[in-house]
Symmetry: C2
Subunit: 177 residues, 2 copies
């Protein structure tokens, strides 16, 4: 409910906002709803495509991509989690699964005995090479083919602003522990 309820919520508010909430304008509501729809549908579309063609969700796929682009195709767990914007816990579970698939292997970190390296296997790389064309096609179809270059550019700009504001470094609260 980003819109004011029918009745007047004067006193007795939730913990955070002290005064009258700054409700969204009509236009902001429409924008917000549009964003919600777009991101829900897009997430779904990409997850289905990748689940079908690569046997994993978009998040897992993204992890493999990051590994593929890292030097020596390996990365510290924490660093990988930060790049992917997910919690360490989630990454642990994810790598366990990907390890089961033979796409990732773990290695001890030579410089820190607590540390673990996630390493993309050759199998993993090969899987990525096979499914990349289908994925990029899906992204194009769903997004870039429908936008003018100017729209795409501005969309990127907006996303960068929003992401920066929620970044643990950029904001002032460490949302991702």
């Amino acid at each position: 409910m980003t819109k004011r309820p029918a009745e007047n919520p004067e006193a007795a508010e939730a913990p955070a906002p002290p005064a009258e909430p700054r409700w969204l304008t009509e236009g902001e509501q429409r924008t917000w709803l549009a964003y919600r729809h777009a991101s829900t549908l897009l997430e779904d579309y990409l997850d289905r495509q990748l689940q079908r063609d690569a046997g994993m969700t978009h998040v897992y796929y993204g992890l493999l991509v990051r590994l593929a682009e890292a030097p020596r195709r390996r990365m510290r767990m924490t660093e990988l989690a930060e790049h992917a914007k997910i919690t360490r816990s989630r990454l642990s579970h994810a790598v366990a699964r990907l390890e089961g698939n033979g796409w990732v292997r773990r290695e001890e970190c030579p410089s820190d005995k607590r540390g673990q390296l996630a390493v993309l296997t050759d199998e993993g790389y090969e899987m990525l090479r096979r499914s990349a064309p289908g994925h990029v096609e899906a992204v194009r179809t769903a997004v870039f083919d429908r936008l003018t270059p100017e729209q795409a550019e501005l969309f990127g700009e907006v996303c960068r602003i929003v992401a920066a504001g929620l970044q643990p470094a950029g904001g002032d609260v460490p949302w991702l522990r």
Copy 2:
């Protein structure tokens, strides 16, 4: 991997794309990554805020909002699922949980004995009224306070385009069964 891999993938492609994949340009890659970051962080941020202040995720919250805005605060299950862009199955589980919380109640549909109506209870409405200010504040903080009105407007436009393209009605494939 929306970027071309290091080696040249000439022959032996994935099922879908027949010829050389249309890889993303440098700028498109940056935009895509920014979108992924923004949506991941935003989803997380909102879910945490609502989990903390309202005891449910953003999706569940959205369902209650839709019910609150529906005539007589009730809606057919299928219709609600379509509005929320989720599967019927997911909605069934969700309503079961919300029913357990006392925020939603089910009613038989008078005109179709197969049908079910999800009805927002008074408790549910009250919960919404209490948590709405905190939620709208979070949305403002994360998004609208950081964008100029022009940026917000264009962002909404882009989202509408993308969503329309993925809509079962708008596209040509029924992604949501």
